[in-house]
Symmetry: C2
Subunit: 192 residues, 2 copies
Amino acid sequence: MTGEDAPLTRFAATRFSPMRFDPEHVVTDDQVDVLLRAAGRAPSAGNAQPWAFAVGRRGDAVHDRLVRHLARSSGRWAPDASLLLANLSQHLVEDTDLEYTEFAAYDLGQALAHLTFQAHAMGLAVHQFRAFDRGSLTTELDVPRHWQVTTMAAVGVPVGDVHEGAGTTRERHGIDAITWVRDGRAGLREPS
Amino acid sequence: MTGEDAPLTRFAATRFSPMRFDPEHVVTDDQVDVLLRAAGRAPSAGNAQPWAFAVGRRGDAVHDRLVRHLARSSGRWAPDASLLLANLSQHLVEDTDLEYTEFAAYDLGQALAHLTFQAHAMGLAVHQFRAFDRGSLTTELDVPRHWQVTTMAAVGVPVGDVHEGAGTTRERHGIDAITWVRDGRAGLREPS
């Protein structure tokens, strides 16, 4: 895969966010450990590692607590996944208004991406979402104000594929539309 | 790699942020396209795709413009990389104070992670950094207030490895320290 003709990786080419998960598949405790380790190895500004995860395996007590705070939309598909995560970012230093890191959300996003790569290598897929009650989940998880429940994610074995309407992989902008400026190429700004 | 004994992927196990790049290596225009396509295929909230990239290949005019705004620290190593990127996120709707997406930084972080994963499959490595003059680079790139130059990244072939002090792969928290709550396991909060 080195060289000029490098294609997109299989991961980049085929990843999608499932909306149907196998409700029988069980993720093992060891697999969860590996997923968390992969997330935790993401880079972060100043190595701040401003992330933490509430981890519910389908059927366990934490899973029950997470499911209660799903929106109606996510409540239709996310509980079937083998694993539900609430993804927290630390943006302030405890008991202060001082910024802990400017990159709390940015770095958490990266950690989820690293978890997603790892999941794919294990035959699993990930669907991140915001369709949950942040206020009530913050209370449920006893989250102090220097942390935020930023997103949730469902992890498991997809049923069907994206072409069957079982997931979301939406149209993407072309390269020009995500290029700010680049020599000899179109972008949102002309080269000066 | 499926199943209970799944190890960390090679990517997760070996990735590091180089601080020395091969100053002779050239990344092709096609390779840059693939990297941008991989970044652009990252998931984003509502498919907002709130990202854009200023792209400088070593020696070209955009590269020269980016290099001028590096901090002294990053100026020592980043210009040697084959590719310099300024990574922009769109947080507001143009000409308004309305949020374009709550997840501008989070999603940009994911896009960089996807670019990093693609780069590794191509024999390249990525070092993201904040050591640049945001104000002057914002002016240089004619960035309006609904966008932000959030980070920069250097992409190329690492020289040496992390054990030779040629990169950063720092200590990470253990799983317990990034677990908020999990049944039967230690975390930052006890299961209730």
